[in-house]
């Protein structure tokens, strides 16, 4: 079975996502990084599903859930980014440290 290859792909994708999340300054790119991490999880789910083959296709169902949640999250996230950009003329997270003590 091609399990290890998929897991390596998933781990790599997840690591890219974490990297992007932590070092990117543009909010849109940070959101993209989050999407990468979610999809890394999806790959893991599908890989294990096809390896173990559960009766109710649990892995696939969860993958669908993750996709749905990701879509909802990116919808809200982009709306927020849009409002911030309109108000502050910037999408740089370093400029957005207003919520502090």
């Amino acid at each position: 079975m091609l399990l290890n290859q998929f897991l390596v792909l998933g781990a790599a994708l997840f690591a890219f996502g974490v990297y992007g999340l932590l070092v990117r300054r543009n909010v849109v790119l940070i959101l993209l990084s989050v999407e990468l991490m979610l999809n890394a999880v999806n790959i893991n789910l599908i890989a294990f599903e096809s390896y173990l083959v559960s009766a109710q296709a649990v892995g696939q169902v969860f993958a669908i859930f993750v996709i749905t949640v990701a879509a909802a999250e990116v919808g809200i996230g982009l709306a927020i980014v849009l409002m911030i950009f309109r108000n502050r003329k910037s999408a740089n997270v370093d400029d957005l440290s207003l919520m502090r003590w």
Partner: protein, 680 residues
């Protein structure tokens, strides 16, 4: 009805006798409507209040008017035959036997409170229509006020401790909203916070007590608790003292007992109708109500807690009453007075006077609400809370003046007004139960009460006007409730004259006695006239002394002073004239003796009066300045400083940089992964 054991009540001998559970018929079965209507009004006002003519005031008044119909019918039914019923709905179940239910109790105690809350509440709401007209956020005012009424009725209708806590927190929340109603001023917000937090400290006691007692008997139901206490159940006996003390601690917060009274004077920051209904007539009596609900616990099992409770009540009634002597803000005078009267009620209930304490609660609600509404009418007219800006208002505001005087005399305990009978019963109970020293403190408290009320009346309504503008009488919508409260302030005392049974209806003691188990409290067989006379003399002396000192306000009224003091002079001379006519020496000795009497009057009698007044005032200032302001407030300020410091230290973590948070998150996840890998 549901889940109630068949029970028999033994009221006082010759009274209603046994009342079967489940009586009351339609009105008792539907009494729950009273608990719901104010909440409906609350939601409707929030939704539509702004568009209505009176900003939702009409909805609030309408809800309480319907409620009052139910409350009055139940009150009359209970007078004539006794009503005992309980309707509950199961909401949740913990394990197999701890049940959480909501519902309503209809018995002597709750009917009295239903009537009181709805009657005083309706009058105060009507008054508020005039008082709040043109003010800010009137719709929110009436919404929060309706929320309070609903929560208060949930509290008094509670068949179990859990529902009581729900109502208890509800009234606390409404109190917080309304104390901080004028939140543009930071002081008012602080007053609201102070009230809320002080009550929270006490609520810990209430909740722990509820858990302790509820788990011990396997039920939170008041009737189960009463029965267990009456039967001296062992499981309850083991936790009775601790549970009783914890519940008492909860009651101390809501009912402003020393040293948790500090929030009540500050709570006067709210609009005056709020002070009248919540912080005088009803909400602050919730603690007394709780003590009365669980009275069998204290009467049968937790007698050891009595001494402490009586002492705290006695300190409250006397020491805090003294503070009213030095306050200039008329609402603060009334607030300290309220604390003092709550001390009377607590002392009475703690000493075993179930009826005495609750009867004082009943009469006090009428005349203290009346006094607050009168003070509100004055404040409305002169635009100041300070009595130093008032004076001489009796001509401009006759209705307010006369109703205020009625309220003051009722509070001072002058026969035959309401306060006399209830206060006398408390004194009789204290004497009978052997708390003689506390009884004398209570009598001294009666003196102080009369003294500060005489002062308040004199400074507000007599002398010359010292404020600005031209005050005028309040509109009819405000004076009508004053009259509506003045009438019961005069007459309700006769409902419970010791030894008197009114034909067909009995008396207040019997109505209150309609509970699942006999209360077994002390109720005097007849009036103890010597005790009544002592109380009356103390009150009369207080009134006279207060009047003598404060009816002549020194600086602005020298001319009037000169007229007032010699006003006694002709009277004295008249008496002397008769003596000397008999002796046949008219004329020759008139002058010298008159001058001697005048000299005696001016230097010796006035000197004694001023000395006593000065000592009392200094004592009051000492209690206020040192004990209240430094020691008691210091503890609470210290607590808040610690909380504040901890908050300042921790808030630095909030850098506002999202990616720092994300980095922390990833690091935490990595640590968990490492731990997971190492362990598994």
């Amino acid at each position: 009805m549901v889940g109630m054991r068949a029970l028999v009540i033994a009221a006082e001998e010759g009274g209603h006798g046994a009342v079967e559970a489940g009586t009351g018929g339609f009105w008792a079965d539907t009494a729950g409507i009273m608990l719901v209507l104010p909440f409906v009004a609350f939601l409707l006002i929030l939704a539509f209040g702004k568009r209505l003519k009176y900003k939702g005031g009409e909805l609030a008044v309408g809800a309480l008017a319907i409620n009052l119909l139910w409350a009055t019918v139940l009150f009359v039914l209970n007078m004539t035959g006794g009503v005992l019923d309980q309707t509950t709905f199961e909401i949740a179940r913990i394990g197999s036997d701890l049940v959480f239910e909501l519902g309503w109790v209809v018995d002597g105690l709750s009917i009295m409170m239903y009537f009181l809350v709805n009657f005083v509440g309706l009058l105060v709401f009507i008054y508020a229509l005039g008082y709040m007209e043109g003010d800010v956020r009137v719709d929110w005012f009436f919404a929060a006020f309706s929320l309070f009424a609903g929560a208060m009725l949930v509290l008094v209708g509670a068949p179990n401790l859990i529902q009581m806590i729900i109502g208890w927190e509800g009234v606390g929340l409404a109190s917080y909203f309304l104390i901080g109603f004028y939140w543009e001023d930071l002081d008012n917000v602080r007053a609201g916070n102070k009230a809320f937090m002080t009550n929270k400290v006490a609520d810990v006691g209430l909740i722990l007590g509820t858990i302790l007692v509820g788990v011990a008997i396997g039920s939170f139901d008041f009737s189960e608790l009463s029965i267990a206490a009456a039967e001296h159940a062992e499981a309850l006996g083991a936790v009775a003292v601790a549970g009783g003390l914890l519940l008492f601690f909860g009651a101390m917060g809501k009912s402003a007992q020393f040293p948790l009274h500090i929030w009540l004077p500050d709570a006067m920051a709210g609009p005056t109708p709020v002070s009248a209904l919540m912080h005088a007539a009803t909400m602050v009596t919730a603690g007394i109500y709780l003590m009365a609900r669980v009275f069998p616990l204290f009467q049968n099992l937790a007698q050891d807690t009595r001494g402490l409770m009586v002492v705290i009540g006695a300190i409250t009634l006397f020491a805090i009453g003294l503070l009213a002597l030095v306050a200039d803000d008329i609402k603060k005078v009334l607030a300290y007075s309220t604390v003092s009267q709550l001390g009377y009620m607590m002392t009475a209930v703690a000493a075993g006077g179930y009826t005495a304490g609750l009867f004082h609660l009943f009469t006090h609600a009428f005349f203290k609400a009346l006094l607050f509404l009168g003070a509100g009418a004055v404040i409305h007219a002169v635009h100041s809370n300070n009595m130093s800006d008032m004076g001489g208002l009796r001509k401009e505001m006759p209705t307010t003046y006369w109703t205020f005087v009625v309220g003051s005399l009722a509070l001072a305990g002058i026969i035959p007004l309401a306060g006399f009978w209830s206060k006398d019963e408390i004194l009789a109970t204290l004497g009978h139960e052997g708390y003689t020293a506390v009884m004398w403190i209570a009598i001294a408290g009666a003196f102080v009460t009369a003294f500060y009320m005489a002062r308040a009346v004199a400074l507000t309504f007599h002398g010359t006007y010292k404020g600005e503008g031209h005050p005028h009488e309040a509109p009819r919508v405000m004076t009508a409730p004053l009259v509506g409260l003045a009438i019961p302030s005069i007459f309700v005392g006769i409902l419970n004259i010791p030894g008197v049974d009114w034909p067909g209806i009995g008396n207040f003691t019997e109505w209150l006695g309609v509970r699942v188990v006999p209360m077994g409290d002390y109720h005097p067989e007849g009036i103890d006239w010597s005790l009544a006379a002592i109380g009356l003399v103390a009150a009369g002396a207080g009134l006279a002394l207060g009047w003598l000192i404060f009816s002549r306000d020194r600086a602005t009224q020298k001319a009037r002073d000169r007229f007032e003091v010699p006003a006694l002079y002709p009277l004295l001379r008249q008496k002397y004239f008769i003596d000397h006519a008999a002796l046949g020496v008219v004329g020759a000795t008139t002058g010298p003796i008159a001058r001697f009497i005048d000299w005696t009057n001016t230097y010796i009698i006035d000197g004694i009066i001023n000395l006593v007044g000065g000592v009392v005032k200094a004592l009051g200032e000492f209690v206020y300045g040192t004990i209240d302001q430094r020691a008691v407030d210091g503890v609470f300020n210290g607590l808040s400083a610690v909380t504040d410091g901890a908050g300042s230290a921790v808030r630095r973590l909030q850098t506002g940089r999202v990616q720092q948070y994300a980095a922390g998150f990833v690091a935490g996840a990595l640590i968990l992964v490492v731990v997971f890998v190492l362990i598994v």
